[in-house]
């Protein structure tokens, strides 16, 4: 039986941003993709999302201090 990482309690929800959402994100935080933290294309948690470099992944972390917090990572080859 193959397990999927998506259900593990340590792995928060990863979703791919659409182009519109990307533009909104860049405008809201006044950043470009270079300024964002990175995630490898080959990362086990995003293996199912079929990403390419230049995409952005939205991560919904459960945080002890903020309840839910959103984090964004730019996808890079690796």
């Amino acid at each position: 039986m193959a397990f999927t990482t998506n259900h593990h309690q340590l792995v928060p929800k990863h979703t791919k941003l659409s182009e519109a959402e990307k533009a909104k994100l860049f405008e809201q935080y006044v950043v470009s993709i270079r300024d964002l933290p990175k995630i490898l294309k080959t990362d086990p948690a995003v293996a199912k999302l079929s990403l390419k470099s230049g995409d952005i992944v939205k991560i919904e972390r459960e945080s002890k201090t903020a309840g839910v917090s959103f984090y964004y990572r730019g996808v890079i080859d690796g």
Partner: protein
């Protein structure tokens, strides 16, 4: 609470954190008027804005001090308890260093394996423990007998252990067929007999064979040296010494949601960067709590974020996050200064003096707090 009120509170989603919104919802009386609720939200937002960290605040330095000071009070050594049934775990400062350096080989790798609720019984956990424990042939052997004249190696196995592990000598024969080239293999009740095909007068080859078959894995998962089933509240949990997260998650009876290991690098490879970040926070916090110290979790979150920012797990070492720094002087100020300066000189590196350490070195104001903003003049 009225629906429109709830919707109004939710409209602050972009400005306030989910935890705060939830708290407001819980503490506001149900029959509140619209005006009062608006005022409450305005005041909450004001208070939140005031509590935020200012731009230019040196959060990293504050974290370093906040973790460093309690660190001086931590246990400096790991103690070894003789005869205690719980396994010995690295704690205190050595463990913290291990995590923050993202060391590849940690001193006490461990896993906590949970079984699915439907499978959770004393019998199952015992069976499971035997199933995953790495068993080498050497553990089952009662006696080796080498006969030079007949060129045979006779391996006598312990009957009771064979039964416990649910193995038969026939199954073992299959395993050893490929491992014992140049020998023929016979079976006698609980004995394995290897006979050399040629007739050399030496004992060397027999002896080599004995050493070789001793460390052949016959059951279980690679790397799992010890398994200890324990009862936690209502359910049974397997603690293992030695880790193999990837293979253990594949078992059908294992609860793949909660099963974790304490090796950050392994978590990174099996579950990804985000899981590694969470594992760093959990593991560091566990140590701090066990030592009776109190460090705000946000400091640890910051360190964990930095370690995982590049998408690859990097330790706080000269090979890890420090090597990423843009400034030569900043790198040189950490460790091995000569090496960094020589390499930078050879490559003709330019230091733009944009960060803190290099400015401290050359006696200039650092870009922090009031030193951060620059002046822009309008030229006519």
């Amino acid at each position: 609470m009225k629906k429109e009120h709830e919707e109004f509170i939710d409209s602050y989603q972009d400005k306030l954190s989910a935890a705060i919104l939830e708290e407001v919802k819980q503490s506001v009386p149900a029959d509140i008027t619209k005006e009062k609720l608006h005022k409450i939200m305005d005041l909450t937002l004001d208070a939140y804005m005031l509590a935020r960290v200012n731009a230019g605040e040196c959060v990293g330095l504050v974290s370093a001090e906040s973790i460093g000071e309690p660190g001086t009070q931590m246990t400096l050594n790991t103690f070894h308890f003789a005869g205690v049934s719980e396994m010995n775990v690295t704690t205190g400062l050595p463990r913290i260093i291990e995590i923050f350096d993202a060391q590849k080989e940690i001193k006490t790798p461990m896993m906590e394996v949970y079984l699915k609720a439907s499978q959770n019984s004393l019998d199952n956990i015992k069976k499971f423990a035997l199933k995953i424990k790495e068993t080498l042939l050497g553990e089952l052997v009662e006696e080796y007998a080498l006969n030079i004249f007949e060129q045979t190696l006779r391996v006598v196995l312990n009957k009771a252990l064979l039964k416990e592990y649910d193995l038969s000598t026939k199954e073992l024969v299959k395993l050893f067929k490929t491992k014992s080239k140049g020998f023929t293999l016979d079976v006698e009740e609980n004995q394995l007999i290897f006979v050399h095909k040629g007739k050399p007068e030496e004992i060397k080859e027999l002896y080599n064979l004995k050493e070789k078959i001793r460390s052949v894995k016959i059951k279980g998962l690679k790397g799992i040296k010890q398994v200890l089933p324990v009862k936690r509240g209502e359910e049974y949990v397997c603690l293992t010494s030695g880790t193999n997260l990837k293979d253990v998650l594949e078992f059908a009876e294992v609860d793949a949601e909660r099963t974790t290991c304490n090796d950050i690098n392994e978590v990174y490879h099996v579950l990804g960067v985000e899981a590694a970040r969470q594992a760093i926070i959990n593991e560091v916090y566990k140590v701090i709590e066990a030592q009776g110290l109190n460090i705000d979790i946000r400091h640890i979150m910051l360190v964990a974020d930095i370690m995982c920012a590049t998408g690859v797990l990097k330790g706080i070492t000269r090979y890890g996050v420090v090597s990423e720094k843009a400034s030569v002087l900043a790198r040189a100020s950490f460790e091995t200064p000569i090496k960094h300066l020589i390499n930078a000189a050879l490559e003709g590196e330019v230091d733009h003096l944009t960060s803190v350490v290099e400015n401290v070195m050359i006696n200039q104001p650092v870009p922090l707090g009031t030193g951060l903003p620059g002046l822009v003049t309008k030229m006519k």
